[in-house]
Assembly symmetry: C2
Homo-oligomer: 153 residues x 2
């Protein structure tokens, strides 16, 4: 079937951008503590065209790990329609210092507004360095569609 | 609606066991390198009643990280039907040294047999220490259903 053929790089990029622009979508966020413990949680994200925006409590393991290590590995989509993103922290902005534009854009896409939530939140703005996208084993080849922050397609 | 009420601990345990026993199911596997980099991949798993069994290439970042750190954090299910498992490595068994029982049980549940695949594989047998299960925010309370390796329900 045509739809089960390996996708081209351009198709994968289109599919990845659709996932990044989806409303009320979550990603899996992996981070590591200085102690060497891996952490993993699902978080609702937004995409500003260049950066993935997460909102989480300042005291969370995710916020502490990523502000210390400056990096994260994220997954979007299901386990058989995978988007893996290695990202570096571009900026961490405490909610009370965030611009209305940033907070509005996050709330609009995430369909959830941390300004209305209890707790001390921080926005983590993560810049993708490498993006890989694959579904089944026939898409392992050609899975890297961004490297060193630049789209390859 | 009844089905959207917060589940009891017992319901969550039942749902978690159903996910652990599902055929051809994947989990997200987070691990950390000694360098402090978090890694994350989807892997097909099996469950032997006490341990989650993963099969991955010996040279993979996941195998290297988990055999070094002796621990992993895993997620089953979707981002709004979450099962988070903190697990410790009980045993790592190279495929060529694995018992037929272990390899057969893995292949049966995973619907994939690493003995038929190219590459040097290892089985990672991970024992859950803590399990948390929640769907939406109303299930955050009561999400911990296993602690220190013991079911709380």
């Amino acid at each position: 079937m045509l739809e089960r053929s390996p996708r081209t790089g351009l198709q994968r990029k289109t599919d990845v951008l659709a996932k990044l622009e989806a409303r009320r979508a979550d990603c899996w966020v992996a981070s590591a503590a200085p102690s060497g413990n891996a952490h993993l949680v699902p978080l609702t994200f937004a995409w500003d065209g260049e950066r993935i925006v997460l909102a989480t409590e300042q005291s969370s393991a995710t916020a502490r790990n990523i502000t210390a290590s400056k990096r994260s590995r994220l997954a979007l989509g299901g386990t058989r329609d995978v988007v893996m993103i290695d990202a570096t922290l571009h900026e961490a902005v405490d909610l009370e210092r965030a611009s209305p534009e940033l907070a509005d854009a996050y709330a609009q896409q995430a369909d959830w507004d941390p300004r209305a939530a209890r707790g001390q939140f921080v926005f983590l703005l993560l810049r993708p360095e490498r993006i890989q996208a694959w579904r089944e084993v026939d898409e392992i080849a050609g899975r890297t569609i961004m490297r060193a922050g630049a789209w390859l397609v």
